[in-house]
């Protein structure tokens, strides 16, 4: 009997898939994907046709160094901003009214105004205080566009990172603090061993987004004569009037951002492995 049942079971075939037909959605979807493919092929054809090995040899090293400048700028300002964000986040969460309102004003200013305005304010505006800065020996620092860019980016990202840190720490339930206190851990131990490991899981994605936003935002330093990737691109375009200079920059930026995005997703999967079943 059971053998017969098994026989029947093997004979029963999976029903054929329901024919999907060419619904309106499907036609539209294929048309749009087709449009993207045509655009992609068009771009490749354009790049192949516009290929000029002389031009490439002349400007490709510039692009590499520009990419280096962009990545250095972002890395330095993210790290310095992370350092600066700790006291800001601490002040923001503190019970002291004056301290927390100062931190709030700092964060509100840097998050509420465009980064470009902040960069201009520092790069052009600091010149108004030249005598005072010369007196304290800081003029050499603020005269350089590069240092101004790092300075303004650090202040900007510190404000954003302070909010990320604060949000992450506040996302950990109060019971965790109380539980640690009842076990006799002091504040710093609690923060380091209990709170931060849980908070950083929450903070990882916003931190990743902040790095991506900084990479994209760093393009504006091209407007204060720093030769980052965008600066080199502008220079190349102004010398050659060849539109492919912009397309190469777009490709490089897209690759970096996609690598970063996937890296953040990978890390997030790794560190939340204990939360999934």
């Amino acid at each position: 009997m059971s053998a017969a049942a098994a026989d029947v079971a093997t004979k029963v075939e999976k029903p054929p898939a329901i024919p999907r037909g060419w619904s309106r959605q499907r036609v539209l979807g294929y048309a749009l994907v087709g449009l993207w493919i045509v655009l992609g092929i068009g771009m490749i054809v354009y790049l192949v046709e516009a290929w000029n090995s002389e031009l490439f040899q002349k400007y490709a090293p510039g692009y590499i160094s520009g990419l280096g400048v962009t990545l250095t700028l972002v890395a330095v300002s993210i790290v310095l901003g992370a350092v600066l964000s700790v006291p800001v986040a601490y002040a923001r969460m503190s019970r002291n009214r004056i301290l927390s309102s100062f931190a709030y004003a700092y964060v509100y200013f840097f998050r509420g105004t465009p980064l470009l305005t902040q960069v201009f304010l520092i790069y052009y505006g600091v010149g108004s205080f030249r005598p005072a800065l010369e007196a304290v020996g800081l003029w050499g620092f603020f005269r350089e566009a590069w240092y101004c860019a790092i300075f303004s980016f650090t202040l900007n990202t510190a404000a954003y990172q302070a909010e990320i840190l604060r949000g992450a720490i506040e996302s950990v339930p109060r019971g965790q603090w109380e539980g640690a206190a009842s076990l006799g851990l002091h504040k710093l131990q609690t923060l380091r061993k209990i709170i931060l490991p849980q908070a950083l899981i929450v903070a990882l994605r916003p931190y990743g987004n902040e790095i991506i936003l900084m990479i994209k935002g760093s393009a504006i330093v091209a407007l204060i004569t720093v030769y980052d990737l965008m600066g080199i691109t502008k220079l190349t375009y102004s010398r050659t009037f060849d539109f492919q200079s912009y397309i190469w920059a777009a490709i490089i930026y897209l690759i970096i951002v996609e690598i970063l995005r996937h890296a953040v997703e990978w890390v997030e999967r790794r560190i939340t492995i204990h939360l999934h079943r």
Partner: protein, 237 residues
């Protein structure tokens, strides 16, 4: 040296009228971009939540590209790319034609595509927050697909996506500062002109920053008012 108040006065001596014109340009650019961006963003979100894989793919390519490119690069590519493209087209008819692309329109398109790619993500997560039963309920009372969307889903969608969209509006307002790079006389460019003429860079860029801050504060009051109203509708339900 002129006093600060003379520099900031209205009229030929001061720069306040020029900066006010910049505020007008900035606000009208952001206001003109918003509906375009919302519309495209909604359509892209519709594509990304459909059952059809090819539509989802097309929507995801759009978001990946315009979220990954720096806004400034997008702006330059559209401004110069459109100029070259239209020029090439015009050359077919008139070999000596010279084309100037409108900076306002290029800025609007560039900010619009960036805004829409972010907005599509906001709409997408709002779509996912609406239970399937809402569509089924609409179907069971005999509404057509379009009617379900308009009468049942959209009102909930707007309420859910409002905080995310409010955030995007504040980002859009800040991103408009980039159009000063393609020569549009917005707040930042007017402040820059004033700074160059009067050599008071810190004053004028500081004023520009404060104006942006003021616009953000006014916007958040407006957003709060809208959210209160939408919230009240929810209570009445």
């Amino acid at each position: 040296m002129q006093s600060v108040w003379t520099l900031l006065s209205w009229g030929p001596e001061g720069w306040l009228d020029d900066i006010a014109y910049g505020v007008f340009i900035t606000v009208s650019l952001a206001a003109a971009t918003l509906p375009v961006g919302l519309m495209i963003g909604f359509l892209v979100a519709l594509a990304k939540q459909s059952n059809e894989p090819s539509l989802r793919l097309a929507g995801n390519i759009y978001t990946t590209i315009f979220r990954g490119l720096p806004e400034l690069l997008t702006l330059f590519m559209i401004f110069y790319g459109a100029q070259i493209g239209i020029q090439q087209l015009m050359r077919l008819y008139n070999p000596t034609a010279a084309v100037e692309v409108n900076a306002f329109v290029s800025g609007m398109i560039a900010l619009g595509v960036v805004f829409s790619s972010y907005a599509s993500e906001v709409f997408l997560s709002a779509f996912r927050a609406i239970p399937k039963g809402q569509y089924e309920g609409g179907y069971s009372v005999g509404l057509s697909g379009w009617q379900t969307m308009r009468l049942v889903v959209l009102p909930q969608l707007i309420r859910i996506s409002l905080p995310g969209l409010a955030n995007l509006w504040l980002i859009l307002l800040k991103d408009t500062a980039l159009v000063s790079a393609i020569g549009l006389a917005d707040i930042l460019r007017q402040a820059g002109v004033a700074a160059r003429v009067t050599k008071q860079a810190f004053l004028f860029f500081g004023v520009a920053a404060l104006i942006y801050l003021l616009l953000a504060i006014i916007s958040s009051f407006g957003i709060n008012a809208i959210e209160r109203r939408v919230g009240r509708q929810q209570v009445q339900r």
